[in-house]
Amino acid sequence: MPGISQDSIVFHGRLSELYILAKEGKIPTHLQGSHTRPCKFWTATKILSGIRNSVILAHGPSGCAFGVKQAYKLTNSRNSGAPYEPVVCTNADLKSVIYGGEKNLHEAILEVDRKYNPDVIVVATSCATGIIGDNVDAVSEKMKDEIHAEIMPIHCEGFAGDYRSGFDLVFEQIVDFMQPPTPSDRERLRHSVNIVGAKMGPERTEVDTDVKELVRLIEGIGAEVHAVIAGNCTLEQLKKAPSVAVNCALCLDLGYPIGKAMKEKHGTPLNSTILPYGIAATEKWLMGAAKYLGMEKEAKAFMQSEYEAVREEYEAAKSFLEGKTAIVEGHDAIKSLSIAHMLECDFGMRPVIYNFHPWSAQARETSIDYLLETGVDPEILITKGTLAFGKYESMKQTEDELLAYLGDVNPDETVYFGSSLSFPHIPLVDLNAILNRPRFGYRGALKVAECIKTALTYSFRPRSALTKQIVFPKNAGLASAASLTSKLSSDMPDCTVYAQHRRRGQCMMN
């Protein structure tokens, strides 16, 4: 291994080996005290924010509701021109904690129904009301006949599960809004799909987003997208969603729970593949949809024409990259796995995922299972910095370990796929930049090829001393606890989400 001492390595091997070690408890999978992810409440409300004309009523103090409102709703207003949307709370205080807040919740539901006239009220529990044991289910059930909106309780107390659990919970539960397919709906939607596993709300109109690219692909074969769940979908769309020909997972990990639930409850087929980075994954995604749409012939013709449009540049990139090594930043687990899949299957590279936190080996089981089943088993390198106290995505230790690992490898033989906030001496391809969208589909593959070409063309330029000092100042302390956006803050192009007092241009955890 070039450069890095064995002392600095926690794990080096195949993904499958790491996966087994994590399952057997032979490698620590907990996040360090200095590492935090959004809690279950945040992730649950992120999905709920994608249902139009719904109101989240957080049963708890104001802080939880305000945090998600600012991060998700205000960002939607800014980026996508969405109207102002509230996140309401019952404003639980000391008295509520001592005497219970069910009566207050009852009244709050009535007020919300009158004030906003929403299609849906989702009562989201918080730590405080979860612990005191307010019977939110009973209150919600009782209110059903008293209000115009549909109502659903969601138990998403911050302590009740990890980051991922909020996504899964909501995706599974919103299936309860859906109606069983009818023959007439099935006929009407026989050439339609749902894209499942989306979150937060409407797409930016001025950015070529990945979701837009998937919609374009579906429409390209002559089918339609019925709903993007939950990316600005309506209650009416949700109700009819099971009648489509197939659900297509946007993100395998997030799309799987809702896809599975819809399949079990309503028999809606599920097309789930890894994120469609690169042509191999895109074709698998598209053919998976076409199979259920009965449009395989159209899909093949469309894929051929799409490929022809990007072939020249794509093949040029492929011929250059084949046989070379790719270091893939592993901070965003699903993306790193998908990129590794693309680099190996499309470009014939040898991907090494750097600093894939063992926590992800547990949290991202679905994607890992898929990858291993498809025969892709990339190398993983985890250094000590990843498990140290501090924010491993941004700390000097992991950067130094990266540089030590690379040592003096030949920049003509190795390419780094990760954030521009790292400073390896080899060509660096940052697929997260806003200008590098879409990343999915054929246009995405072309974009990747262009990015690689640009990175190689300008690899003679030393990295800016200015930018390096911005990220890694002299005498830097430990960066910790959600203090910096993950370097692959991928949900938001340009990685800017509002948080308290943060101004435009500042970052926020994803």
């Binding site: 939880c64 309401v88 302590f159």
Partner: protein, 447 residues
Amino acid sequence: MYDELIFNDCTHSKDPMMGCALEGVAGIIAGIRHVSVVIHSPQGCAATVASAYDAHEIDFTQRKTACTHLFETDIVMGATDKLEQMIREADQKFATKVMFVVGTCAADIIGEDINGLCTSLQPEIQAMLIPVVAGGFRGNKYDGMEIGLNALLPFIKKQGETIPKSVNLICPQASLNPTWGADLKWITDTLKRLGVTVQAVIAHDSTVREIEGAGRASANILLSRDAGYTFAKKLESQFGIPLILSDIPLPVGLKNTTGFLRLAGKYFEAELEAESIIKSGEEFVVDILRRRALMIIPRYRNCRAAIVADATFGTGLARMLFEDLEMIPALILLRSGSEETKNLLQREIDEMGIKAKVAFSVDGYQIKQALAEARVDAVVGSSWEMYMAKELGIKVAFDLFAPTNRDVYLDKAYFGYTGMLNMMEIMGNDWERAFRSDEIRWGQYAE
């Protein structure tokens, strides 16, 4: 007398415009240099604490925070061991002299004995442990700031004589100026010109030693009209340090700045220097506006405006808009609503003789509702109000306050004479953009 708005259906549900008590507590702690924080909470609360650090613009490399990641079993079985382990680890890794151990909703409700643990662990821990119970249900951000400030009281000592002409600046980060540090600098520099030294800033980039010395100041100035009154009163009663200049608006706009300086000059017996600052400041404003902004006179005169802000700026903006710029503050919606704030606004409105509609401690629903009914031409507020205004068809929205949709790289004060110009510059640009055509029919130019 102001006309206070009444809203229906707002007794049990709230669309909050600010964070909870935890954020307030963390906002005070984040203002102290070289201290660490262990949050005894589920991981989501760490984002709230991070927001408080953002308010102080603490470099991401300098944050020393850790979280115990409470999960369901911890809630059922208790998590004192987990907290103890985290305190030990943080003590070793962060190596700070002081460590705040903060319990949030979950720890607070299940009754984790944070005080007891800190006491028993203290002999084995290098850092001085300061337990703070800060369940979010204990109030909003402003209430939390009082809790946080209260936690600092034990640090403050009355050692030595009172230092004449010295002040403590009590400045909980409650301000909506996105680069609030510039206001602190303005006030510090101005006091210096009046011959007044700042004994302690409580708390922004402050040292523990600085806070310890706060007991020797001869006066306290509160740089907020939203939080900190209770703490200031405690300093008054416990240390005999009077709170001054608290019943007037802060120096927002020409007249308020002049009024603030005149009273400060009088209190510190520096009237001549105060007059000199006033003279040069007013001349500076007039000179700039004459040369660069003559058009503001017809533009703003009798423009009906809504002010949606914290009380720190809202109470001062009313006079700036009405008397300095000849606008009509028809609607004033404030984030907080203490008795002190209500009395101050009442006096201001009475003195000016205006008939503004007013609401305190407003939430998002109330703001939008009030804006929809107010028939105003312009809104002075933050991004929230900017987007609401757009939706409601209000032509002009001045995006002055946090969270703003502007990139601001260099600190810009809103206090003082230059501060007024800084605000007016933003207003000028937003005004111009508001009246640019969104849809230009390019075809007609091609013909």
